[in-house]
């Protein structure tokens, strides 16, 4: 959660007494724990962790409630869906998609956004104006609709999801990196590098880029949550990774029609999304306080 006054920044009171307050956030141990056990481990080792096949269910075991509800069994701890697939196994496999989509999307948009942001900030002038206009436009695009158009035109796939997400995200990186570059550009060591004959490319890569890594780390952490939310919304609408691949969003979509008889189908994947995104946000806040307290509202 972004606050305009990060706890670690000194606020001056009358008479210039600096009212220093230490970063009050604790190390986000629980969020990290949740992330590891809900996103990273299942995402990497789904086949070894999932107790059942996520795609093929047995019709005999359909619509079983979770184990603690009457009629539930330990075989399917979180219950089964309408074709008898194990909810827990599907959530574990669903983490793969969330993890893969968010990492690829963050990486692609991060590289594009950072490169364009560096160039805009470093060269300035017309190139800067052009890139910033593109940033404005892309931030103003109705993302989900755009995604739906993509899907209507070229069909739903992993690539579609990544492309759509990238269209949205690169602009935030570009804007942030440009802002930082503008101020770094004026610093002495850049002038020295220039005098020493370093090429523009080299200055951007070796001198400016290392100074924006902190910002990028914070931004990326906070954005992973946004990507997971977006991916799940697309999957929910049937515009994400095509079935029968289990995704958290499409599982919720399955559960929507059965909410009257089987609440658990929609409940658990939703909790998975919520806990993951919440943890990412907490982690991102902590990182921001640590690495880059001047970052606001992102």
């Amino acid at each position: 959660m972004a606050q305009v006054l990060p706890e670690s920044v000194p606020r001056s009171t009358p008479d210039g007494i600096v009212q220093e307050t230490l970063p009050s956030r604790q190390f986000p141990g629980i969020p990290l724990f949740i992330l590891v056990f809900l996103l990273v481990l299942p995402g990497l080792f789904a086949p070894y962790l999932a107790p059942h096949n996520p795609i093929r269910g047995s019709l005999r075991a359909r619509l079983q409630p979770p184990v603690w509800v009457q009629g539930g069994t330990i075989t399917h701890p979180l219950g089964t869906d309408k074709v008898g697939r194990d909810i827990l196994s599907r959530i574990i496999y669903g983490a793969r998609i969330s993890l893969a989509v968010s990492l690829v999307a963050i990486l692609v948009s991060g590289v594009i956004g950072t490169a364009l942001g560096l160039m805009a900030g470093y060269f300035g002038g017309r190139l800067d104006a052009l890139i910033m206009r593109l940033v404005d436009i892309s931030l103003g695009l109705p993302v989900i609709l755009l995604a739906l158009v993509f899907v209507a035109a070229i069909g739903a796939s992993f690539i579609t999801v990544v492309v759509v997400t990238t269209v949205l995200l690169w602009a935030r990186y570009a804007r942030q990196v440009r802002g930082e570059t503008l101020s770094i550009r004026e610093r002495d060591f850049i002038a020295r590098a220039r005098v020493a004959g370093a090429s523009h490319f080299r200055i951007m890569l070796r001198y400016i880029f290392p100074n924006v890594i902190n910002t990028l780390t914070v931004l990326a952490t906070l954005q992973i949550g946004a990507v997971i939310l977006l991916e799940s919304a697309l999957s929910f609408l049937g515009a994400g990774i095509p079935r029968p691949t289990p995704t958290w969003g499409s599982m919720i979509a399955d559960g929507r029609d059965l909410i009257v008889v089987a609440w658990w189908i929609a409940m658990f994947p939703g909790l998975a999304i919520m806990l993951t995104v919440l943890s990412l946000n907490l982690l991102g806040d902590w990182l921001r306080d640590r690495l880059d307290p001047k970052l606001r509202n992102i």
């Binding site: 009171t13 009358p14 008479d15 210039g16 007494i17 009212q19 220093e20 307050t21 230490l22």
Partner: protein
């Protein structure tokens, strides 16, 4: 026109205002006492961070809460202790009897309301009356601070005015309800020199017209010489020397005051801040037990570090806190 200086109107006894921070207790104001007479101008001088502004805010009971708290002392305005008043009673005193001109005219006015609105608001709190009489009062207040064409100016937004003009408006707001005492907290720091001089002259004229008492907070001895009758030098939350302006200029008794006066090169070319003294004031959350100026004092002795000096009279109404004066 000479000014008539009357009875004591504001008396401050042993005022302590502390800030409770994560680092510990910051003793921003640590035992300040003084008296202000009717029609008099009292200067409070010191480096930034010495507790001048915190003293001013304490008088109005507007210290930044919940960090800062007035922990001890009395503030007697016309015999009534303001520290005993309820918040509601204080609101009737602020603006009406005790008012303040803030440091930075660029940020002291709310950018989204017209100055007329902000002025009327101040008047409306303390005076009832038809919109027309209130408006004419507002226009009067503006003309009192020599704003040209005040009846048109009331429609303006702050960003449409120059810095000097804004500061006049801030002054008009502070003066609009005819307070008895006004605190001017470095009102001219952000103005350029000519505007500064005009503004100071204006304050003097208003004082002569109304018999106002002024507490003038500044770090600039040049302004003190022009404006004040008496002056009080603050260092690290305490008053180290106080007395009539002429006395202090001619015979500064405290080493800090001497250093301050030496650091004023000439009356014409004043430094923005008093950087000329070697070293830094002590951190207010780890004050030494003795004299707070010890670390920077050229005459420091062992006892200065041990115990805080008592006040010694050096002249009529002129005292200073320094062990060196004991022998004299």
């Amino acid at each position: 026109m000479t000014r008539h200086i009357g009875d004591v109107i504001l008396q401050v006894d042993d005022l302590h205002t502390y800030c409770f921070t994560r680092w510990g207790v910051v003793k921003a104001v640590d035992g300040v006492s003084f008296a202000l007479r009717q029609g008099e101008t009292l200067g409070i001088v010191g480096e930034s961070g010495c507790g001048k502004s915190m003293t001013a805010l304490s008088l109005l009971r507007l210290v930044p809460r919940p960090v800062a708290r007035i922990v001890q002392g009395r503030v007697l305005l016309q015999g009534e202790n303001l520290l005993d008043k309820s918040e509601r009673e204080m609101r009737h005193i602020r603006g009406r009897r005790l008012s303040m001109i803030l440091q930075d005219p660029q940020t002291s006015l709310n950018p989204v309301f017209t100055i007329g609105n902000q002025l009327l608001e101040a008047i409306h709190i303390h005076h009832k009356g038809s919109p027309r009489t209130l408006l004419s009062r507002a226009i009067n207040a503006l003309s009192q601070v020599r704003v040209a064409a005040p009846e048109r100016r009331v429609e303006d937004y702050p960003h449409q005015m120059s810095g000097g003009m804004k500061q006049r408006v801030v002054g008009a707001i502070a003066l609009s309800c005819e307070p008895h005492v006004i605190i001017a907290d470095e009102p001219t720091t952000s103005l350029d020199v000519t505007i500064q001089a005009q503004y100071l002259r204006l304050l003097r004229e208003i004082q002569e017209e109304t018999g106002l008492s002024i507490i003038f907070i500044t770090h600039d001895f040049g302004i003190v010489a022009k404006m004040c009758d008496r002056v009080m030098v603050m260092y690290a939350g305490r008053v180290v020397e106080s007395g009539p302006v002429r006395d202090i200029f001619n015979h500064p008794a405290h080493p800090y005051t001497q250093a301050l006066l030496q650091s004023v090169p000439t009356m014409e070319e004043r430094p923005e801040r008093l950087y000329a003294i070697e070293g830094q004031p002590p951190a207010l959350w780890e004050l030494p037990p003795g004299c707070r100026f010890t670390a920077r004092c050229p005459y420091a002795e062992a006892r200065c570090e041990q115990t805080y000096p008592s006040s010694f009279a050096v002249g009529v109404d002129h005292t200073a806190d320094c062990w060196r004066l004991q022998e004299a």
